[in-house]
Subunit: 115 residues, 3 copies
């Protein structure tokens, strides 16, 4: 079965499509604002864009791994998440605390979705 | 292909089924006991329950990501794991150390399974 | 749909195949050298071996989660990664910082691929 690469750069693709499964890259905010909430909003906007490139939207999200640089941002990020996610299409979630690519990056999200 | 949501709450679902793939949410112990071994037993019981809601059992597990708040609990959690898993149906594993949703939570597991 | 277990040991399998999806175990270097770059080379060699056991190669990789014990190894590991990955078959990536199974282990990689 052919793999479809979406938004390939020099090191990774933004998404890879296999059959009806869509694997998105882990996203940090491209232009990380000072708060985790702002970064979460930017990340979800980036994810919306990548899903659109794949021809789908957030109603097709199946799983989300959410990485917090500091778990004290859990509630602030969840407020952004809760406003974004569709109540009738709630994915599974796995929240963990881990440092990210730079100390400025406070949150990252990795999504798997379906066509 | 339709997505089936299992055990949806207000923020996430306990499982999402896509074709014959079953994505489970990351699980921490609902009522975290004082040791990682106790928490691992509770988590695996919760996972058994969610798998049953999906109509399958642990013989259908494909992957497990196991998050330890402290890698010194590795052996104690593995003893619980080894007693639970079926020798003829061993999933892949990815163990990492990361802090979890509260300091009381010592271990988390995320499972992907098949119908 | 039958699951196929590849390289099963006593605790986990090296890979599980479900339809045309291949889930690999998280890999750390079997014989961890002193630098993250050396370990990354060994891990990618181990992954090549496991992919071969599944009848595929690195052109079929869809996603990679890369765990750095210390994010300061990011560039050194990426040099190894960039030399290994095929420019026309770039998977998605999710890099995080987390401690691994022992302090000697500096990097881990978890791959999902397609038949």
């Amino acid at each position: 079965m052919e793999l479809k690469y979406v938004g390939s750069g020099t090191r990774y693709s933004k998404a890879v499509i296999h059959g009806s499964t869509v694997y998105l890259a882990g996203n940090v905010a491209k232009d990380p604002g000072p708060t985790a909430a702002e970064q979460a909003r930017m990340i979800l906007s980036q994810i919306d864009d990548t899903l659109a490139l794949c021809g789908i939207d957030k109603s097709r999200i199946m799983t989300a791994t959410i990485v917090f640089a500091d778990m004290r941002d859990f509630d602030a990020v969840n407020d952004v998440w809760d406003a974004w996610v569709l109540p009738d299409h709630l994915p599974t979630r796995t929240p963990i605390e881990a440092k990210l690519i730079t100390p400025r990056h406070l949150v990252a999200m990795q999504i798997t979705a379906a066509l």
